[in-house]
């Protein structure tokens, strides 16, 4: 398992950038997903109205969350679903393990759930002797490679087909050097089909849960969630408490937005609505808090809980595209991850809100209109006030504040800087100056504008 301790985005991104052709490939691949999203969004004249509607529905959900949670529990229970509540990741993992133990099951198939990544469920279960098989193709690939996913929708986007081929050759004994995606996908189909057919317990995520009816919806292109759930004796669905929608009809808005925002498709192949367990089956929903109620209380950051995990913000982010998901050292990477993670652990994730130029593109593609770039700016203020900035940075900032608050000092500093560049540029143009590594310094003019104005206008 990759260890991210003591790693920050800047250092990890620097390593990522060593292989420039690979960065170009990663960047272009994800930009292409953004382009597909644009095609889809621009094909619907009512696109901006859909975003506004979705945003307002989610605002309503957050302002009535406790009531909707109670309603969902009531309806789901009436439907024959058992509802569990997990205050944190530990409780979530224990609940899942408890159900496995109760039925004496030691192997589980799992479809994509970012929540389970967040809770490190796989590691926990593996430590308890449970075999977890991720059935989403991208997730299965990274699972075999013992890596975390780098993107919440396209988990293996950082891998080339050669990488997949090598991995499958090692783990599935497929033909060495056969890079054909069709061939490799078929190999995975056969390998995982056997797991579905023998799987007694299936765990899925939840894209949307409906308070009104007590049902939940799981969206996939592969059909793996369904293959797992409809063959298993026990189906566990894990969801963050914020994934609720008030009424069934609201799905019309979200199912129109989700896939178009994520990949540019009009809808995922399957949008499965689970309302009651199959005859003879047990169906469980685990509602997970894990810091969400705290985020809900943060006035400036609660809107991040509207997220429907489409990853449109990842695909448009020029920094994500050129640093890769692993540089964020957290389950959910990218712009949305950078405003969710500090809520969980400010110390560990203090670097993330700074992994951005605040360009604002993310906020524009967000289907639920989360003000991501504004929240990145606000998290910076919180983190520095809480003392997570380095001493060097703090001193530098105090120095800058002093200089810029005193016109005399400012003019002196400016003059001095230009003098150095004109007469002793070696002081600045060297390895110690990060700007200078790959860029020339600007040419120092003889006089500043202020000086010119004094001579020419006053």
């Amino acid at each position: 398992m990759t260890n991210y301790a003591d790693k920050d985005h800047a250092s990890l991104a620097e390593k990522f950038n060593v292989d420039e052709p690979r960065v170009n490939w990663h960047d272009e691949t994800l930009w292409w997903v953004r382009v597909k999203r644009d095609k889809a969004s621009k094909s619907l004249p009512e696109w901006e109205l859909l975003r506004e509607t979705a945003s307002q529905i989610k605002n309503n959900v957050l302002s009535n969350l406790s009531e909707y949670l109670i309603q969902f529990e009531e309806e789901a229970t009436r439907n024959g679903i058992t509802v569990h509540w997990a205050a944190d990741a530990k409780e979530h993992n224990e609940i899942v393990h408890g159900l496995l133990q109760k039925h004496g099951i030691t192997r589980m198939v799992k479809s994509k759930s970012m929540l389970t990544e967040e809770c490190h469920l796989n590691e926990y279960l593996q430590q308890q002797g449970i075999e977890v098989i991720d059935t989403d193709l991208g997730e299965r690939i990274v699972q075999m490679r013992k890596e975390p996913p780098s993107h919440i929708v396209l988990p293996a986007i950082h891998l080339k087909k050669q990488d997949v081929s090598d991995t499958f050759h090692e783990h599935l004994h497929t033909e060495k050097g056969n890079y054909d995606p069709q061939f490799l996908t078929h190999a995975a189909r056969l390998h995982l089909r056997e797991k579905f057919l023998t799987g007694k317990l299936a765990l899925t995520g939840v894209n949307f849960a409906i308070a009104e009816t007590g049902e939940f919806v799981v969206c996939t292109n592969e059909g793996n969630a369904d293959m797992g759930a409809h063959l298993a004796d026990i189906h566990i669905a894990c969801m963050g408490i914020e994934k609720l929608l008030p009424q069934r009809k609201h799905l019309s808005v979200f199912l129109r937005l989700l896939a178009r925002s994520a990949t540019g498709q009009p809808i995922t192949t399957y949008s499965s609505h689970f309302k009651k367990p199959r005859k003879g089956q047990e169906m469980h929903v685990v509602l997970v808090d894990n810091g969400r109620s705290i985020q809900l209380g943060r006035k400036d950051f609660r809107n991040s809980l509207k997220c429907i995990r489409c990853a449109a913000c990842f695909n448009t982010c020029p920094v994500y595209r050129r640093s890769g998901g692993h540089s964020y050292h957290t389950a959910v990477a990218g712009p949305i991850g950078s405003i969710l993670a500090p809520n969980i652990d400010m110390k560990q994730y203090a670097d993330l809100p700074f992994a951005s130029t605040l360009c604002g593109s993310c906020s524009n593609v967000c289907p639920v209109k989360i003000d991501i770039h504004d929240q990145l700016y606000k998290w910076r203020q919180v983190l520095m006030k809480e003392g997570y900035g380095s001493t060097v940075k703090k001193m530098g900032m105090k120095g800058m504040t002093f200089t810029l608050s005193h016109p005399g000092v400012y003019h002196f500093a400016g003059n001095a800087g230009r003098w150095v560049l004109r007469n002793a540029s070696f002081i600045v143009n060297n390895k110690l100056n990060p700007w200078y590594k790959q860029r020339d310094m600007p040419s120092p003019p003889e006089e500043s504008f202020g000086e010119w104005y004094k001579k020419n206008r006053k």
Binding site: W47, R322, R380, L404
Partner: protein
Amino acid sequence: MIVALFVPCYVDQFYPQVAIASLELLEKAGVEVVYPPKQTCCGQPMANSGFEHLANSCNELFINNFSGFDYIVCPSGSCTLHIKEHLHADKQEEKAGEIRRRVYELTEFLTDVLKIEQLNAKFPHKVGMHQSCHGQRGLRLSQMSELNAPAFSKPGKLLKMVEGLELVELDRVDECCGFGGTFCVAEEAVSVKMGKDRVEDHIKHGAEYITGGDMSCLMHLEGILRRQNSKVKVKHIAEILNSQ
């Protein structure tokens, strides 16, 4: 009307010609322009680094320098946006509010307030327009490619008035250049990669000059161009609109 010219600190120190061009442009349009000499900086470098709470003295200085004018005009989208969104002062909030209402970026001032319809400018070159993010997405200087909304561009409208200027098309019309304030050194690798990609897009489409509304972006792109020994130059839009 009396307009105060707000000159970004790095323009004052390193690119005075941009401020001169801005001044001349406004004067040619018949505007009375004043340059408050004690101005320094809008405070954005501290604020974007998370030190908004240190910006009080900077804010006070700004308010002292820029109160009492009809408009404050600045040849930078990002500095203008910062003042518009973040200028506050406990003891002078009313004055701060006045300034926030009256501050304009140069091109939007020309199109929206002065309502310029023609310019006596000539720049017979192939030019690539770099859409600086804060100006575009923050001040709405031009339409954003992410939105399903009608196209428009205030700087674009002005550039069309310049004789001989040919605007080149780009693959990615509004991708960030990677400057991002202290990001340019704190995340040097990604910052430079983003800049290189922007530069490549312009060069690929035959641009002789890269222009934009923010000298900070252009300074970063220029640093890359010069390191590559490229013949392509950067030129702030004020200079182009003011060129004869």
